[in-house]
């Protein structure tokens, strides 16, 4: 006989605020766990398919194409067809691969992506532990597990180019975690809470307007963490073959693909909750607003993919360490001062902060002139 702990409210309380106060929550601990555990998995897998379809259909008109339109109405079943195809493919493991590491990497890269959704509130009180009192810390911590999975994939493949790509990938992810954390710190300073749900509740003005520099930096860092354009130089489709997961095929490769798009959902959802006031919005059901915002953020990411070239590896690292890190520190300092003197958020801080952001961005950019060959020639 399995002994189930008779704990409803107590267990929740130990995680943060009482969920029953915050509205929609299930009293039974295990029912809550089961419902939202399965719910998150279903949500992630469904939205991943939605995202893949959305990206392909959305990027097509920008390239004067139509996109997938054969399978189902508007090609909606294309991700399903892709999933079936990839599951039926042969799983090839290189003979000299480190079998255990090679096997574990695709699992380890997908797990943190799913874990991140545990603290993201779709609506007030709707989520696995939306009011976790260290929610933002959890997000940052879990998000950085992906780095080791990437390196495991490169190492386990026993392919020197995979290892090189994995090392560069790790360097990129570690570098961009720093300004990302500072951007999140500014949000925490203003909202006064580490709980993701509480941050949304505090956002009377969306933090994208109130903290424009943090928003821009978080967005850029999210792109870098996701390794999407303009930071996708390590898996550049047109030049090199996917970098660290070159040696993967079949369902293992699909796990990387799944993790990539799952990460895109997670980062879009985090941007939505931290900067775009989460589920808040007029007229529509709050959960619907959340999903609309997530898709809007991803739409901007896809739009950037259609428009922009990718950076070089030295530009990538230089941008993180020389440009974003000092600027995010200055930004944090400014936000801290603002928080000390005008604690309840003042609306007039919005134009002030936008002006500060524009000034800082363009001022700091002035220190980075391109020193190309042409200029040296003209001086000589």
């Amino acid at each position: 006989m399995i002994h189930l702990p008779e704990c409803g409210v107590e267990t929740f309380s130990s995680w943060g605020r009482d969920p029953l106060e915050s509205g929609w929550a299930i009293e039974n601990f295990w029912a809550h766990w089961g419902l939202f555990g399965v719910g998150i998995l279903v949500f992630v897998l469904t939205i991943v398919m939605g995202f893949i379809w959305f990206e392909r259909r959305f990027i097509a008109p920008m390239q004067l194409r139509i996109g997938p339109n054969r399978t189902g109405p508007f090609g909606l079943l294309q991700p399903v067809a892709d999933a079936v195809k990839v599951m039926l493919k042969e799983d090839i493991v290189p003979a000299a691969a480190d079998k255990v590491v090679h096997f574990l990497a695709p699992i380890l890269i997908f797990v943190p992506v799913v874990l991140m959704f545990a603290v993201i509130p779709v609506q007030k009180g709707v989520g696995l532990i939306p009011d976790l009192n260290v929610g933002v810390l959890f997000l940052v911590a879990v998000g950085s597990i992906e780095t080791i999975a990437v390196f495991m994939a490169g190492w386990g493949s026993n392919n020197k180019y995979s290892v090189l790509a994995a090392m560069r990938s790790v360097a990129q992810m570690v570098s961009y975690e720093m300004p990302m954390a500072f951007a999140v710190l500014a949000v925490i300073l203003v909202s006064g809470s580490l709980s993701v749900q509480q941050i949304v509740v505090e956002q009377s003005i969306p933090f994208a307007l109130l903290l424009p520099l943090s928003f821009i930096f978080y967005f850029i860092c999210a792109l870098a963490e996701l390794q999407r354009t303009p930071f996708d130089l390590l898996e550049a489709e047109s030049e090199i073959i996917a970098g660290y997961h070159t040696e993967y095929s079949g369902m293992k490769f699909a796990m990387f693909y799944l993790a990539e798009y799952g990460g895109a959902i997670a980062q879009s959802a985090i941007i939505t909750t931290l900067f775009l006031s989460g589920w808040k919005g007029p007229f529509l059901w709050p959960g619907l607003w959340f999903i609309i915002k997530v898709f809007a953020v991803f739409g901007v990411i896809v739009w950037m993919r259609a428009a922009w070239p990718r950076v070089r590896i030295d530009q990538l690292m230089g941008f993180a360490w020389k440009y974003m890190l000092p600027l995010s520190l200055i930004n944090l300092f400014v936000v801290a001062i603002e928080t000390i003197f005008w604690d309840p958020v003042q609306w007039w801080l919005v134009p002030v902060n936008i002006a500060i952001a524009v000034g800082l961005l363009s001022g700091w950019a002035g220190m980075f002139k391109l020193r190309g060959g042409a200029q040296v020639e003209s001086q000589g």
């Binding site: 097509a60 008109p61 920008m62 390239q63 004067l64 194409r65 139509i66 339109n69 508007f74 739009w303 950037m304 259609a306 428009a307 922009w308 961005l361 363009s362 950019a365 002035g366 002139k369 391109l370 020193r371 190309g372 042409a374 200029q375 020639e377 003209s378 000589g380």
Partner: protein, 180 residues
């Protein structure tokens, strides 16, 4: 040295000489967005077929047995040695009878030398482009197939056919068929 050499810095400068960082990125986004409102050029192939060029070198040869004298110039011109022609002599009117004339479309490189070489204009390119087969042996076109009436003749090296053929559909002028 050219003093007016284009420096990387001038790329980012606007006309007033003020450098706005990141303006190029925003311009890129705008261009892409404008593209999204344009007409899409993808051809919806099975539903929508474009008319090929009038002078197309399409994937078949058309043979006119009435004009062919069996001189085998085409077979000599073929760089692949792909045209097989066997003739016998008709002693009554002192002419060749073509007994066998076939070409393997799987080996043909569609260079058009046979069409250009034919002194009696008996060999043409066809206009068909859906020539996939399930067996390699099916690719070998024999006399009956090559002289079939169903085959359309291309105006490649046969300018007298040019005016009879339909105009090629260019993607820019095509009426877009909406299959979304």
């Amino acid at each position: 040295m050219n003093p007016k050499a284009r420096t990387p810095d001038t790329d980012e400068k606007t006309e007033g000489g003020i450098s706005i960082p990141g303006i190029g990125l925003l311009q890129g986004l705008r261009v892409v967005f404008k593209n999204a409102t344009r007409k899409r050029i993808t051809e919806q192939y099975p539903e929508e077929r474009l008319t090929v060029s009038r002078r197309t070198r399409a994937q078949e040869l058309v043979w006119d047995p009435g004009r062919c004298t069996g001189c085998a110039t085409c077979a000599k011109a073929c760089p692949q040695g792909n045209i097989k022609i066997t003739t016998s002599v008709n002693t009554q009117n002192n002419k060749y009878i073509v007994e066998k004339f076939e070409s393997d479309e799987g080996r043909c490189i569609f260079c058009g030398l046979c069409v250009e070489a034919c002194p009696y204009e008996a060999l043409f390119f066809g206009r068909s482009y859906e020539r996939s087969k399930y067996r390699r042996a099916e690719l070998i076109a024999d006399m009956n197939e090559m002289s079939s009436d169903k085959k359309e003749r291309s105006a490649y090296y046969r300018p007298e056919l040019y005016d009879q053929l339909p105009e090629q559909t260019l993607l820019v002028y095509r009426k877009h068929k909406k299959v979304l």
